[in-house]
Subunit: 436 residues, 2 copies
Amino acid sequence: MTLSALPRGMKDIDQREMAIRLWVNEKIRNSLRKHGFQIVEPSAVEHLETLEVQAGHDIKNEIYWFKDKSDRSIGLRFDLTVGITRMVASNENMPEPIKVACISNMWRYDEPQFARYRCFYQWDVEIYGSKGAEADAEIISVGIDILESLGFKEFEVRISNRKLIEGFLQSSGVHDQVQMENIFRIIDKKRKISDEQFVKELKKYRVDDKQVQRIVNFINNVGKPASLLKQIKESLPHNEKVKEGLDELIKLVYLLQIRNKVKHCVLDMSIVRGIGYYTGNVVECFGKGNEEIGAIWAGGRYDNLSKLYGRDRPAVGIAGGVERMILSLERSKLLPEGLAQTPMIFVASVNEEVKEGAFEIVDALRNENISTEFDLKDRSLGKQLEYANRMGIPYVLIVGQKELKAKKFTLKLMKENKEEHVTIDQLMRKLKKLDT
Amino acid sequence: MTLSALPRGMKDIDQREMAIRLWVNEKIRNSLRKHGFQIVEPSAVEHLETLEVQAGHDIKNEIYWFKDKSDRSIGLRFDLTVGITRMVASNENMPEPIKVACISNMWRYDEPQFARYRCFYQWDVEIYGSKGAEADAEIISVGIDILESLGFKEFEVRISNRKLIEGFLQSSGVHDQVQMENIFRIIDKKRKISDEQFVKELKKYRVDDKQVQRIVNFINNVGKPASLLKQIKESLPHNEKVKEGLDELIKLVYLLQIRNKVKHCVLDMSIVRGIGYYTGNVVECFGKGNEEIGAIWAGGRYDNLSKLYGRDRPAVGIAGGVERMILSLERSKLLPEGLAQTPMIFVASVNEEVKEGAFEIVDALRNENISTEFDLKDRSLGKQLEYANRMGIPYVLIVGQKELKAKKFTLKLMKENKEEHVTIDQLMRKLKKLDT
């Protein structure tokens, strides 16, 4: 190991990547703001118990945790939902619903894969204190708006309901909660495994041939919301869970219709979400043509989690990986060209004597919010131009004694390989126009 | 411990605090951009060796470190300079100087104090690849601009030079590097201890009475740059270090003068910085009247650190704590009033039948980038108004059947307790004007 190496699965964010992230984050933040979500950030470090109570003791194997110097077990957050829920649960005075969001990093001790690191960023939106499908529809709406504001056009929001599937499994003879959750986990990974493997895994959990066939038939129900609802309604078993789940789905689909969002949505009975805590409508969003990247965002209703942290408050939320989103944008060629943090202009000095005059120009440009660079290495004019060129700075202003006296300067347009002669006022107007 | 508690020294950032942070970060980011600094983020997790090589093995006691599941010792970053330096050192192809910045969090296992947490945010600016005082002056300029853009008027940039002080100590008979660094550490904390304590601590490191007196006399040199330079020049000992340090200071002061920044600056020979790695000009900035909060930002030249990570590249940088900055802003009453993430308008529905019409209005407002909220809990109009009021939402639009037909709506101005009658176009124009 050299001292310049990073631990496995960790990465730096360089200038170019940060330019993309700043652009993406700004779009997400604006979408959150429009929708009335307020940004928060829960602590990055939690007591291990706080993490375990949501995710089970096995989570220890998948996260970064350690004993601190007082021998307390603490862990780095592995998602944002747990921390936000704990944080919101500790506050009883907020008017409900509480609409909060976060864009931040988290750590998981996974095996690093392509575009998957051990530290990564997610955006996360949550609504606490509203039981109704109105909140589910609002969460889906902000998810859709985030994608649209980033330029995505082709994506599909796949919706299902945990209660509906639980009721269906109950009617198929699955009554044991542990067996139920294991079946959910297998359904959740169906897309990633072969049909044979799928059947084999189900059978591990005491699911017989007949049950397998029923499950396969059920989770193959995929279609536009109105027609699929009609189609499954007749074939669904009659029990309390199914009725509740169906009502939640019907209400959600109605709201998505009147909110004009249903065009992006399908019902897909294979959507169950792997994690145990979901209790109602669940949702996963995929970019068309980028399905192999996995869901761009996903989530659902989880009405019981808040209780673990001391307050009974229904909740619904979704989260999406920032790195994964950027990968989708790149593959779909949706990233604006030339996203960079490159300065707009380099003010070059012909010699030492003009430096004071050059500084005045630099200050004036910066005061107009124009990103301005100048020589920090006492270089010749030729070397200064070479630097500006290598940095990709589009404009270079040449400052010499004659120019300072005449108050008229040569402006080099580096990409066009052209020159113009401008006063400082003309230059400012030109650059400010380009900047917006 | 309840499950909702956080580990000692950790905190969440709530909606109100985040509103302040978003405002502060935006100001800082704009200042960085204007000055041509590009934002990056080094990994939050480093090999323990990477952190130790800069800070020494004792750093283990002051940071969060642990063995990962492969028995590798890793640690959470305790500052941004180390990570950025390691990151930049690993890249040989960047045109120099490399101007980078970061606004991010870090972790230290300190004893929590007032406004001091075990996880906190800093902004950090660094220039790599420029040996000259031009880079030092640029770093000080961006530090001044950040403060000015946040509204600070009364602050003092205190400047000194490590070589100068080293040379002075050499001439006073201190030739052992360990003794030298211990003396630096004592000088660094002089402000926080009594004069007696100061003398006592110096004597621990074999400093005799005469030397103490010389040191005290020297570090009491504080004054406006030009006059102080004149004053100390005559009394300074003649050796190589003193000459180099003085040259660096003279060059820096000259550049600050012609860049019109010197009005904020004083030379202060008691500024040495505690950390070992500084090699040239060093600087600490204090808010007037808020000196007891500590430096708002501080830093200096550290030409040798990059070598530890495999590349010989001179460097200069400063960093400032975001929490400390916010505290200074609060104490100086410089935070804009009403910084919040509160939505601008609540669209209230009189009953179920008008919901579709209300959604259209909500969408239209959001499409115009107006932060818009509506009912997610199926509440009566009275309860909706109560919620909007408790949330501090300044405008409520009442949507009923009559209003939808007439395309004219009642707009409640919650703070003024007034009403207006507006079309949606009029509403949009009004709110967009307020938003900018």
